[in-house]
Subunit: 468 residues, 2 copies
Amino acid sequence: MEQEQLYKLMQSIFPEKRILTDLADRYSYSFDASFGEYLPDIVVQPSNKEEISKVIKLANEYKIPVYPRGSATSLSGGSLAVKGGIVLDMSQYKKKLIIDRENLLAIVSPSVITADIHKQAENVGLFYPSDPSSSHVSTIGGNLLENSSGPKGLKYGTTKEYVIGLEVVTPTGEIIRTGGKTVKNVTGYDLTRLIVGSEGTLGVVTEAILRLIPKPQARKTLLASFNRLIDSGHAITNILSAGILPSAMELMDNACIRAVENYEPSGLPIDAEAIVIIEIDGHMAAIEEEIKKCEEICRLHHAIEIKVATNEKERDSIWKARKMVSPAITQMGPTKISEDATVPRSQIPKMMEKLYEIREKYELNLVVFGHAGDGNLHPNIITDQRNKEEMKRVEDAVSEIFEAAVELGGTLSGEHGIGTLKAPYMEMELGKDGLLMMKKIKEAWDPNDILNPGKIFPQPGQSKVVLS
Amino acid sequence: MEQEQLYKLMQSIFPEKRILTDLADRYSYSFDASFGEYLPDIVVQPSNKEEISKVIKLANEYKIPVYPRGSATSLSGGSLAVKGGIVLDMSQYKKKLIIDRENLLAIVSPSVITADIHKQAENVGLFYPSDPSSSHVSTIGGNLLENSSGPKGLKYGTTKEYVIGLEVVTPTGEIIRTGGKTVKNVTGYDLTRLIVGSEGTLGVVTEAILRLIPKPQARKTLLASFNRLIDSGHAITNILSAGILPSAMELMDNACIRAVENYEPSGLPIDAEAIVIIEIDGHMAAIEEEIKKCEEICRLHHAIEIKVATNEKERDSIWKARKMVSPAITQMGPTKISEDATVPRSQIPKMMEKLYEIREKYELNLVVFGHAGDGNLHPNIITDQRNKEEMKRVEDAVSEIFEAAVELGGTLSGEHGIGTLKAPYMEMELGKDGLLMMKKIKEAWDPNDILNPGKIFPQPGQSKVVLS
């Protein structure tokens, strides 16, 4: 459709200032935190659900793709307008954040920053555990649709476990409610959990009901360094089988440690094969005992150094090592490819071995960190997009990383989503029939393929390319 | 189809001893724990997934309904063969129960009794929290497909929160795997949670991967009696806002207390409007402190009597009061109608008020107990199916109970499922469009309406009848 015609259609719904057509404006909506640039034909900024419903109904009538977009921090291309059309920029959507203390709930609109939910809940002694690294900039709408969860999945489960109700505009423009305000609800199919993690292909979330829990009374943090990676793996497993469920168990490999020390020296042991950060939360008396037990187990498995934070300042300095990883590796090269292959916890040592083999084979700069407690590793390749020859090796390496994860009983993606980047690998994990059952839902709900088309499902003729 | 022809078809799949056609045999498969009797045309007993796949493929070819059946403890008609056809009796399915300690998982086949999973997990210090009252007889396959959860939903979430992977035979007979062995998995749509709670209409589960957690170190139990129901409501809310998350919070109303005392006297205060049983689990030091706090809060809200169990024997005697409810009320009349309308926790006092109004209006014997912590009430009407006049009043009362729950922001069913009994009320809760989105999935997956037809979705011409 001509842009002028599209503009006129949108004018029937939006005031002019909430329709963007200039190239400069559209350009700033052409990328996210992954790869590729795709220029949308037009950008609109809805402020309420009725406007979204109208856009989607018109889009169905005229067969125009619609791409919902939050803060665009997606690492898998979730918000890219790969087929042009309309970008639905949710930034101007009315903000709503109500904490219902009596029912331990938060009622939120999609444009609310996730960190604000944390803050408001904690102000009244409550707790929303999901915490993707991007939570200070990303919005809850995007977090829900990608089901990105962060480090606390082991103890608290993923984002999905905290969403009990949604208001959604469907791919044909109807406004529906799913679930509700009760944790228990078996009235029909669980559309809530179907839509959470659907990467914007099955509906646009316009409101969510989140379950909160009482805020843990206290927390304790420990950092342990190991000469051998395998020892850290044993320590992790043994802590869990001792009946301790840490709120976080983060792993950094040697390349990661060196990168951080290189970026900002803080005395990390640069010869250690692995650093593990363990955090316990809960009742004061319980965590004192449990952190001691963790220390013992790490020592038993040959930890070369153990630091237990005795106050919040020391805790911050431990977490700083982990938080420096991203800036440190970003500095190592212009292009960073961040994967999130996830394996059953017991397979972490084997997966690490495999990752190092791949690093050797393709001579790449690969560092590994991640959420060891739930098997969610983040192998990162630092490269340069302009180096075509190296990029070819990167593609092959990423392909082998996916294969290794699936072979070890794991999954392509623990929390970044499939988007455009991993779509060609879907059948490898799900099988032809498994993928087909997903496609049947998409086709039944979105017969005109209006909502976020080009994502999740492999496109005809699409090869196993990592970078578009 | 003629039974003889059906028999021949099944003979191509099963040995003779696993095909049942005698009227006496079929009769014993004609009911479940709800109402209505529906005679299947034939019963087959698969022992592996390939047999199930073959049955379903043939059923699609010849358009024969297939009704999967576990222990048939459904309270909503989930396993009734309402359109005749084939009952898929899962009792002879090979039993598999593997505890994977390293990954905190249980791998189970659908025919395993849920209580056996509890036992095996606890033997190695692990814990599977879901615990429907029927867990000593019901199988995990049925528990998953109904998403029935029991008293621990408040602290631990529902059954769904513990299922991370499935092997399923689809309504067209394909064998697929969903999810896997990792808590984090965002590879495509969450078919696992779509199938859990789908009441056997979207697939037959042939294997499940359950997430386990470390077994809580200790537990403490308290029973508090209140002269006024409203006080018990305040106590419950205040315990939660004090940052305590009990593993169970069970409520019994006066009619319930009287029924139990009448059945087996144990010194319960028969004038109390409510009894609340609170159980805390976790670290020893934490629970000592928390149970004291619960006691204080109950006292503050005018509890007339508080008992704290000091040992397991005293705990058992507290729980005995709760466990006597079902046998006690069963003795009160030949027919028991057990509902599970669920409301946001803060609405429990209003819902109770409404229930008592309904009891007066229709002059019925109605007792209420339930999982107060998660708003999941179990109003039970004791009646006599043969008394047609009273049954009419029961139907009207049940209809009003559903309306009240939905009006208060709650749901038709917290854990018993929709089955045949609540199907006519689906649109009231979900709206036309919400129900349509569910129907679209069913139609896309099961174009011939083979799997458990007649359930969940209102049937053409079906009125709001509670009893068939």
